[in-house]
Amino acid sequence: MATVTFDKATRIYPGGDKPAVDALDLHVEDGEFLVLVGPSGCGKSTSLRMLAGLEDVNGGRILIGDRDVTTVPPKDRDIAMVFQNYALYPHMTVADNMGFALKIAGTPKDEIKRRVQEAAKILDLEAYLSRKPKALSGGQRQRVAMGRAIVRQPQVFLMDEPLSNLDAKLRVQTRTQIASLQRRLAVTTVYVTHDQVEAMTMGDRVAVLKDGLLQQVDTPRRMYDHPNNVFVAGFIGSPAMNLLTLDTTDGGVKFGDTVHPVERAALAATGDKLTLGVRPEDLELSDQGLPVIVDVVEELGADAYIYGTLRGEGGPAGGDLQVIARVDGRRPPEKGSTVHFTPKAGHVHLFDDKSGLRIGA
C-alpha cells in the first residue's frame, strides 16, 4: 500500500493550446479513497490515466509512495485498473477466473490459492469458488470481476467510471459494495466519476476539477459546507445550491425587501454586487425576503421541493432565475402562488461577483 502524489503534474495534448491537466497538486493518503469529479472535459480521466501511465506527463511528477513513476511503463507501476475486463470465462471456475492472472505472472500455486481464498472471503464468494460463472447472479459475477483485481494485491486501485455500464439499480448497489470493500481492503484508491452524488457518497475525500484545474479537495462534508468558489458551490449538492447575484448595500446585501448582513471587511473587498449562495434546505418561508413565484411543487412525503422563479432579479443579467427550496412536506405552498424566503442564519455562502472566490469564512 502506498500514497499517491501528483506534484505539479501537467498534461498538454499535442496541438492543444491549453493543458488538459494544469499543474495538479494532489496528495492521496495511504489507504484513502479519493474521488476525482467534475464535468466532461475537466481533466479527471486524464489525471487518472497519467497515474496509470497511459498519458504522457509533460510537466511535474507523479509518485507512488516515494517512487517517482512519471516515466515508468503501466505494468511496472503496481496498480490495478478495476472493471476494465468484466467478461468472465464460462468454462473456468470462479476460483480460476479470479486467479488466472497470477498464474500468468508465475505466482506459485499455494500462493494463488491463498490469495483467491482471502479475496473470496472478503467478497463473500467462498461458497462459489468451484462453480462456473453461469451459476452466479449478476451481482456475484460483478464481485468475481473485482476479485480479479484484488488478488493481484496492487498498491493502488484505479477506477474510471466503473459503474457507467450498469443499470440504475445495480449502480447504487455496486456503489455501496465498492465503498465498503475499499474500506475493508484499505488499499489506496483513486476513482473517477462525473456524478457528484457518487463522489459524495463514496469518497473519503473528493477532488473537484474544472478546465484542467483543481478547484478544491476536501471531505464530502467540508466540500458541502464550505465550497471554495462558485463552481464547487454549484456543482456539489443535489438539488444544486441557489446562486444569486445581488446588490450590496450598507451593511449587507439586498435580499428581496430585507438586507442580509455582511461583515464590513468582506463588503469592502467586493464591488457593488456579490454572489450569494444558499442551499435549498437553508431557505425558510417568511413574510418578507425574496419573492418567488411557485412553478412546480415536488412532494416527497416528509419534504417538498419548490421550483420557483425569481422575477427580474438575481440572474446573471438581471433576468429571471430559478430558485429551489425545501419546505415542510405537509404544508407546501400552492403552485402559482408567490412566497417569500429568507436564508437561515449561518448558512449563507458569499462569493466575489467577478473572481467567483469565497468571501469570508
Binding site: Y13, A52, P74, N85, A87, P90, N165
Partner: protein, 424 residues
C-alpha cells in the same frame, strides 16, 4: 449522412441510423434480448461478452444486436463509424435504439446494432474442433497486425482480446477485425504508455481465453504452451511496430537501403506515405524514418487492377498468380491493367464458375481461389507434373469443398455444434 429518428406510435422508441432501416421496426424491441423468440435469431457462434448479444436475421441480412446503456451504445456507434471512415478493419455500425420499454412499462436497455461480418468467425469457432497450436498462433498474429494498425491510426483499444475480435480466413492465415470499441478512444497519437497497456491487457486476455478453451476440452495444451502463444502477441507486435516506425541510419553509399525498406514495408502489406530522409553535416550518413500511412497495400493494388476486393494475403496470392500468368503468356511489356483484365476473364472467373451454385456459400471467392491454387500445387507435386487449373478446380470441387463448413453465415446450427475446419 444524417442520423434519422423514427418515433413509432406505440412507444417512444428512438432509432439513430446512418440511413433508414424500416425493417428494424419489425423486431420485438419490447422484449428483453435474452427472451427473443428463436425464429428471429441466427445461431451464429458468439464470443464472450459482458453484455447480452444476439445475432438476428432481418431479410437477407444478419445483424448483431448488443444490449447496453444508451450512452455507451451511442458512443460506440460513433466510434465505429469513425473507424470505418478511417478504413480500420472493424464491424459496421447500423443503428442505436433507445427508449425501449416492456409492455408493463419497465424500461429496457438500449441496443447497438452492427452488421454481421460475412465469413467471419469468433476465435471460439476456430477452436470448436480440436485446436492446433498453429491456429492459435495465426489468430494471435492477425491480432498483432490489427493492433499495430489501430495504434498507427491513433486508436487506443483498452480491452484487447480474442473475444473482441473477429477473424476472416486470409489465404491460410487470418485477418482480424475489431468488434468491440466500447473502451476505445481515438487520439492524434497513441502514447507509449497506452500501447504498452494495450499489449499487457492483450497478453493477459489471450492467456485467459486460451485457458478457458483448455478448460472446455477443445484445446489440449499445458500452461507453458498457452503462455508461449499469449506472449507471442508482444513479440509479433514489437517486430512489426519497429519495422514500420523505427528510423534507420546507413552510409551514403548504401542508398539502396531506402528502396529495400520501402519494399519490406510493402511486403508486410503497408504503404509508406512519407519518408523523412536526413543527411548528417558531412554528408556521410543518411537517416530515414518512414511514415506508414496505411495497411492493405496488396488489397488496394488488386482492387485497382481487377476490381476484386480481397484480404491482404489473399490479394498477395492472387497478384502472384497474376504475375505468373503475365510471365507464362509472355506479356511483360503489356499494360498491367490490360493483362489483369484478361487474367480475371481467363483464370479467376472460370474457377468460380466451376463451383456448383449450392456450394458457393462455403467461402469467399478469393479464399476459394487461394484454396484451388493450394490444391493444384498439392496435385502437381503428387503427379510429378504441372497440373492445370481446370483439372485442379474439378478435383477440388469434388474432393475437398463439400467437406468444408458453410461460413457465409452459419445459420441454424448451435454454437457448440459448429464444425469448423480451421486446419487443413
Amino acid at each position: 449522412m444524417i442520423p434519422v429518428s423514427t418515433p413509432t406510435t406505440t412507444t417512444s422508441l428512438q432509432i439513430t441510423a446512418a440511413r433508414p432501416y424500416p425493417e428494424l421496426l419489425d423486431l420485438p424491441w419490447q422484449v428483453p434480448l435474452e427472451e427473443w423468440p428463436e425464429h428471429h435469431l441466427a445461431a451464429l457462434p458468439r464470443g464472450i461478452s459482458r453484455h447480452v448479444v444476439r445475432f438476428v436475421k432481418l431479410g437477407s441480412r444478419v445483424l448483431a444486436v448488443k444490449e447496453t446503456n444508451a450512452e455507451i451504445a451511442h458512443r460506440e456507434y460513433r466510434m465505429l463509424r469513425l473507424l470505418n471512415r478511417l478504413e480500420v478493419p472493424s464491424v459496421q455500425p447500423v443503428a442505436v435504439i433507445t427508449g425501449r420499454t416492456a409492455p408493463d412499462g419497465e424500461p429496457l436497455n438500449s441496443v447497438l446494432i452492427t452488421r454481421h461480418l460475412q465469413f467471419s468467425l469468433p476465435y471460439r469457432a476456430l477452436y470448436s474442433q480440436t485446436l492446433r497450436p498453429d491456429t492459435a498462433k495465426r489468430a494471435v498474429d492477425a491480432l498483432a497486425v490489427l493492433l499495430v494498425r489501430l495504434h498507427l491510426t491513433g486508436f487506443y483499444w483498452g480491452d484487447v482480446s480474442l473475444s473482441n475480435t473477429l477473424f476472416r480466413r486470409d489465404a491460410g492465415a487470418f485477418a482480424a477485425y475489431l468488434v468491440d470499441a466500447e473502451t476505445g478512444e481515438l487520439y492524434d497519437v497513441v502514447s507509449d504508455g497506452q500501447r504498452e497497456y494495450d499489449l499487457d491487457v492483450a497478453r493477459t486476455n489471450i492467456a485467459g481465453e486460451l485457458m478457458d478453451v483448455v478448460a472446455s476440452g477443445a484445446l489440449d495444451a499445458d500452461m507453458d504452451e498457452v503462455l508461449a502463444i499469449s506472449d507471442r502477441i508482444i513479440s509479433r507486435y514489437r517486430t512489426l511496430w519497429q519495422e514500420l516506425t523505427e528510423p534507420e541510419s546507413f552510409g551514403r553509399g548504401d542508398r539502396w537501403r531506402v528502396d529495400a525498406r520501402i519494399r519490406r514495408l510493402n511486403e508486410l502489406g503497408f504503404d509508406v506515405g512519407e519518408l523523412a530522409i536526413t543527411t548528417d553535416i558531412d554528408g556521410t550518413t543518411v537517416r530515414i524514418e518512414p511514415k506508414v500511412v496505411d495497411a492493405g497495400h496488396h488489397s488496394r493494388r488488386l482492387l485497382r487492377l481487377t476490381g476484386l476486393d480481397a484480404e491482404e494475403n489473399q490479394a498477395r496470392r492472387l497478384l502472384n498468380d497474376l504475375d505468373a500468368y503475365r510471365a507464362a503468356t509472355d506479356r511483360q511489356s503489356d499494360d498491367e491493367e490490360i493483362v489483369a483484365h484478361d487474367w480475371v476473364a481467363a483464370v479467376f472467373e472460370p474457377v468460380q464458375r466451376h463451383v456448383p451454385r449450392e456450394l458457393r456459400g462455403k467461402m469467399e471467392a478469393a479464399e476459394l481461389f487461394h484454396e484451388v491454387l493450394e490444391h493444384r500445387w498439392y496435385l502437381s507435386e503428387r503427379a510429378g507434373r504441372d497440373v492445370g487449373i481446370e483439372e485442379a478446380v474439378d478435383s477440388y470441387v469434388v474432393g475437398v469443398l463439400p467437406d468444408k463448413p458453410d461460413e457465409r453465415a452459419v445459420l441454424g446450427v448451435d454454437t457448440e455444434a459448429i464444425r469448423v475446419i480451421a486446419d487443413r
